[in-house]
């Protein structure tokens, strides 16, 4: 069915609705300049609210996780205190700085408090210093200054955000702004985490993010894995059917669906037992349009892409949601982590249906990832100076503009 709504939506030039973006080529240098990377670290990542994880990772009193956050040059200890509150700290003992929870990589655990394994100082679940071994051997100690150093930590819809500033310029709610308000009613609770994918990738974090903020690549890169599911007849290049850019830097777009696409038998099996599937879309009606999704109300809609500025992509439809974080490590290295959430299921057939979505995503993701290092390695010389962006790549354009704004901000 050719939808007149969709035809109108996909014929628009979204970039022209945001004249401040311009339409010309952009430089590659933000992805290859080590100096620019350090500015991103100091003026963007050390000042913005950054999504760390979901509070499900610290479910009980005493639950903790340690995340090594390279771009902030620290190790973050997240812990649920005796009062049930989730707090974040620099994972560093106030004695001589050793990691209170030692080791590289992510740590997970549950305890009644923390003891630094170096000299035995202990802290409670609220980060307060509890005891010092051989305390009398010290000179004057102001113990009020020896609690674990907190990192600002706020929650939004079960997601834990941190801010490395001593005094964040905005609360998390202010930072998420109208984007946050528009997505807030989405029923995250209906879904369960089924997979975590991760890898270190030899590319700038923005090169990785860009691969997941446009659908222009779908026909070519995913031609053999995702079929014709995103290209209706009246929108053969999968132009975006809705775009919203927010002043705080967040962005949102809706993708089309080919509702005439006949899914393969195993995908149909997945649909039969889960009601829906990542790679097959029925006409979008009230049952599919969960709160916060398909804001233009198009009947030929597949899923939404959201980006929480600066580095988190969040895909959502009625049949799944995914979060992807692109953590900067250096100008040409990042740590990518994807979390796939599928509708909760207690049945065996539901598990089989989930497997269909998991298997499909795995193949597609590997296609997305392969372009990243290929791009970075050839840009390094600086010989190629500019990139050209079309209207479908408006989210890419917005990303560079907003990062640049923060880099060039006087404060």
């Amino acid at each position: 069915m050719n939808s007149p709504i969709n035809a109108g939506l996909s014929a628009q030039k979204w970039t022209l609705q945001y004249p401040e973006l311009g339409t010309g080529p952009l430089p590659h240098s933000p992805n290859t300049s080590a100096a620019y990377f350090e500015k991103e670290r100091e003026k963007l990542f050390k000042k913005a609210w950054l999504l760390l994880c979901r509070e499900d990772e610290v479910p009980n009193i005493g639950s903790y996780v340690v995340k090594q956050v390279s771009v902030l040059e620290t190790s973050v200890l997240l812990v649920r205190g005796n009062d049930g509150v989730v707090r974040a700290f620099h994972n560093s003992c106030k004695h001589r700085g050793n990691k209170v929870v030692m080791g590289s990589g992510e740590k997970v655990g549950e305890d009644k408090g923390f003891m630094c394994g170096f000299h035995g100082w202990t802290y409670d679940l609220q980060g307060k210093l509890r005891s010092i071994l051989d305390e009398e051997d010290f000179f004057e100690l102001d113990k009020s200054k020896l609690n674990l150093k907190p990192i600002h930590c706020e929650l939004w819809r079960g997601f834990v955000f941190i801010n490395a500033m001593d005094k964040p310029k905005q609360t998390l709610a202010e930072y998420l702004g109208d984007w946050g308000k528009s997505i807030e009613p989405f029923p995250f609770e209906r879904f369960e985490l089924v997979n975590v994918y991760s890898s270190t990738v030899g590319c700038n974090w923005k090169i990785a993010l860009d691969a997941f903020q446009e659908g222009y690549h779908a026909l070519t890169l995913h031609g053999k894995t995702a079929g014709g599911v995103f290209t209706p007849k009246d929108n053969p290049f999968a132009h975006l059917i809705n775009v919203k850019l927010y002043p705080e830097g967040h962005r949102h777009a809706s993708f089309p669906a080919n509702t005439e696409f006949v899914p393969s038998a195993s995908v149909q099996l997945g649909i039969k037992h889960a009601g829906n599937n990542i790679y097959a879309y029925s006409e979008a009606d009230a049952s599919r349009n969960l709160a916060g999704l398909n804001q233009a109300g198009s009947p030929e809609w597949s899923f939404d892409i959201n980006v929480i500025f600066p580095h988190v992509q969040f895909l959502a439809s009625d049949s799944f949601y995914v979060t992807q974080s692109f953590w900067p490590i250096s100008v040409d290295q990042c740590y990518w982590e994807l979390r796939q959430y599928l509708p909760k299921s207690e049945s065996v057939s539901g598990r089989i249906a989930q497997q269909n979505s998991q298997a499909a995503l795995r193949d597609v993701i590997r296609e997305d990832l392969v372009t990243l290092e290929n791009t970075q390695t050839v840009l390094r010389s600086g010989a190629i100076e500019q990139m050209q962006l079309n209207d479908s790549e408006i989210l890419v354009r917005h990303s560079y503009k907003k990062v640049d704004e923060w880099i060039n901000s006087p404060d």
Partner: protein, 113 residues
């Protein structure tokens, strides 16, 4: 000594595929898929497809959390079936043509079985 069948009696005509495909982890099943020939995959796919409804009805008689261990291999077989069905129906080859090295992609599987 006769080897004990992996699958319940009702499905002993699928037993020939069990050792090869009914592997207990997603990683093992994925490796088996990409290392198999199209002949092996087609044989497996064609044998299971006509029995899909029967197998699933059988497995669905209890919730996933109560599935007896004697049925786990059958479930693993079905999860492997879902993996290879992409190959037959969509991809035309056991693996994607050129993609990120699967060995570098770390996957944590949260699902219970």
């Amino acid at each position: 000594m006769i080897k004990k069948p992996m699958l319940p009696n009702e499905f002993n005509d699928l037993e020939v595929f069990a050792a090869e495909f009914a592997l207990p982890t997603r990683e093992a099943r994925f490796q088996r898929r990409v290392e198999s020939s199209m002949d092996q995959i087609n044989a497996f796919y064609n044998a299971v497809t006509p029995k899909l409804d029967t197998v699933i009805s059988y497995l669905d008689r209890v919730p996933l959390s109560e599935l007896p261990s004697t049925d786990h291999s059958l479930l693993h077989l079905m999860l492997a079936y879902v993996d290879v069905s992409r190959v037959v129906e969509i991809m035309g080859a056991p693996d994607i043509h050129s993609g990120f090295d699967a060995g570098r992609l770390h996957i944590e599987d949260i699902a219970p079985i």
